[in-house]
């Protein structure tokens, strides 16, 4: 499994990570605070246009499909076909299938919300290097230790996947049979055991290496990585956050009765 960042030079790639995050937060706000299909569709269009500007629309579409397909199938089968919230209006009927309007609309709402979130997340992640993202977050108060944990974990996941494969190979070479359901469950201990015991045995060396690189040393720190920012972006970030707050306030005051 790999991190999904893809290098590029589009305007979106060049934005400060916090600017992109502010945009994403606004999208999340729209998804959850304004459950109006038309508004959500409009927001989705904005995200799609941004993806096109960044030059990664195909990638966003493909990845979101892979991620969402199983979920969407479940969603439409359960909500749209089998068990609508209340069986009021029939959307259409065939001899073997009845689609209920309420269930369908409910599912459509969930679908739009999921698409907004997924496209938003993917767009930020595809156009922002994880190290830039963490560096930006450290700039607004994320503890260095947490930033460290996040970055290491991101790099370790592909490596752990590879180790899991190597363990499977080693144990199959020792005659472990993993075919079939029961065997698969039983083989968890010889497969997960070396992964975890090996990792724990490594922890000592990893901790030593961390001390050796002065991570825990007191005193001021410097950074190699520099993030490009601009006055316009700083203003834009504040603006986006004000809109988001206004949206939430409006949702629970002015729009309360409407939605």
């Amino acid at each position: 499994m790999q991190s999904i960042y893809s290098a590029g030079t589009s305007p979106l790639h060049r934005l400060h990570p916090l600017t992109k995050l502010a945009g994403f937060l606004l999208v999340v706000g729209v998804a959850f605070v304004l459950p109006v299909l038309a508004v959500q569709a409009l927001a989705l269009l904005c995200v799609a246009i941004s993806a096109a500007v960044a030059g990664v629309p195909g990638r966003v579409a493909r990845m979101s499909l892979v991620i969402l397909l199983p979920l969407l199938v479940s969603l439409f089968v359960i909500q749209g076909l089998l068990f609508p919230p209340t069986r009021t209006t029939m959307l259409f009927e065939t001899p073997w299938l009845t689609i209920w309007a309420d269930g369908f609309l409910f599912a459509l709402g969930v679908l739009l919300r999921l698409l907004l979130l997924t496209w938003g997340v993917l767009l930020v992640l595809i156009t922002t290097h994880p190290a830039d993202l963490v560096a930006a977050l450290e700039g607004i108060g994320l503890p260095r230790a947490v930033g460290y944990v996040l970055l290491v974990a991101i790099q370790l996941v592909p490596d752990m996947s590879a180790r899991a494969t190597a363990i499977l190979e080693a144990q199959r070479s020792r005659g472990l049979n993993t075919d079939g359901f029961v065997r698969r469950i039983r083989s968890l201990v010889p497969l997960i055991g070396p992964l975890i015991v090996g990792a724990l045995a490594d922890v000592e060396e990893r901790a030593m290496a961390l001390e050796e690189r002065a991570f825990t040393a007191s005193g001021p720190k410097t950074t190699l990585r520099e993030l490009a920012d601009s006055g316009a972006q700083r203003v834009a970030r504040v603006g986006l956050m004000i809109v988001l707050v206004a949206l939430i306030v409006a949702r629970f005051t002015v729009l309360r009765g409407l939605l």
Binding site: H129, I167, E212, R213, L224
Partner: protein, 563 residues
Amino acid sequence: MSAISLRDITFTYVEAARPALSNLSLDVPQGQIIGVVGAAGAGKTTLCALCAGFVPNFYQGDFSGVAIVDGQNVVEQQVADLVRHVGLVSSDAFSQISGARFTVFEEVAFGLENLGVPRAEMIERVEWALQVTHLQDLRDRSPYALSGGQQQRLVIAATLAMRPPVLVLDEPTAQLDPHTTEQLADLLRELTHNGTTILFAEQRLEWAAELAERIAVLHEGRIVTEGAPQDVFTDTRLLDLGIGWPRPTLLALHARDAGLWPRERPLPVTTKGLLEGLSATKDERRRTDVGQIEDRDVHPLPAHPLTRLPAHEAIVHVEHVRFAYPGGVEALRGVSLAIEAGERVALVGPNGAGKSTLVRHLNGLLKPSAGQVRVADLDTRTATVARCARHVGIVFQNIRNQLFARTVRDELRFGPRNLGYSAAQIESLVDHSLDALGLRDVADTHPYDLPLPLRRLVAIAAVLAMDTEVLVLDEPTAGLDTAAVARLTALIHDLAAQGKSVVVVSHDLDFCYEALQRIVLVKDGMIHLDSAWDALTSDQRALLDETVTLPIAIRAGLPRSFA
């Protein structure tokens, strides 16, 4: 003033029965390079950790004595404050990569960021560190995309960038191939010229002999002798302590017995010394007694015929196998190989040549894209790995990936139990395997409580207990000490005598030469050479020298019986 000054150090780990270091005193003057050798468990790693300040503040235990490194009392200081004075590079490069940085360049800079070095100076120092470790071309690669040897150099670069006046390296060559080992020696020598003090612990005695100005021999936490490599490595006590002598020294000893090395000339401790000494002998003989030595010179290897046993049926047939990974890289491009009963085969070749891909075909972990692999009577394309595993046992290089049981004995039971042997059979196989590798005394110990060399033997024993006709060992000598290598060599000969075949994938050509009889060179996914060691032509020898280097004994032109 000494850069490292240790006085009467005694240290016992929590819960340990005996001290890891006892009454140890050592002084290393500034700018000296000192090598520490000793059998597994002698205390080398503890000594390295002590010099870098990890004992007794990180590793808990009872400590007494005084340890001063670069003027700092290491016992009274935190490691994070000592890093400006002393840098430690441990043997496992992988777990020393911080993981928090995405490129080689940034990884080297990580320590400097933590020290608060200004950005401009940081870049300058990183550039220098990459240059001296020959990593400039890899600066934008991910640290995790590097080979083991490159990762080792990266970790050294990251430590060097912090400019410690004292550098401590624990088994720095454990993951390096012969070529990179030489580069590392050059780099360390250069550093000492600039005033850096270096202490390293090492299993490769030849390498230590070539690099160190001084050698200290550690045994059960004490320094038993120290001095110039020339004196220490010819001390017979090393043989008694299970540390052994460097290969060139041993070869010269055999040569002396055979009259090829004059008694009055001191034994060499380096390959260079051996080669020079032998050619000097040759010159002298040529002057005095031409005929006799000319004969030896032309036929340095006894011309045995191919020692294959035609009576035996091949157990593994690899026929015209091609294999491409899903990514499209064709790793095998038409490989044919037959392994007969009782054969001892070395599989050598540069990194990425296709050796590990080939090995994974031998028990069906990978299925050929074209061609066929037959194991006993099974076609690996249709038989399950579990069935092939009855005939071919593979021990992979990374032993961490298979150990999980609470005791050595339990670990050994896993394989035979998977193969469906009865309880009585399992116990007998396990006992037999424990004895074959000398693990009887540690049968009830946790594998992770054993020193690394023994842990590797446990991994080998675990596959040996499956009693397969073919045993495949991937880099079995990595990290092994002399005693463990001797065990392994004996095991391989025993197996062959019982009519079982052994295939060894290794960079350690000297071991291949001593323990195995046939050599197969894999390069670019094809077999370029397949011959008995004794039947190598001079062209083939040149090809080997160019791709994977030659065993010292062949380079010295000494008979195989010497090795």
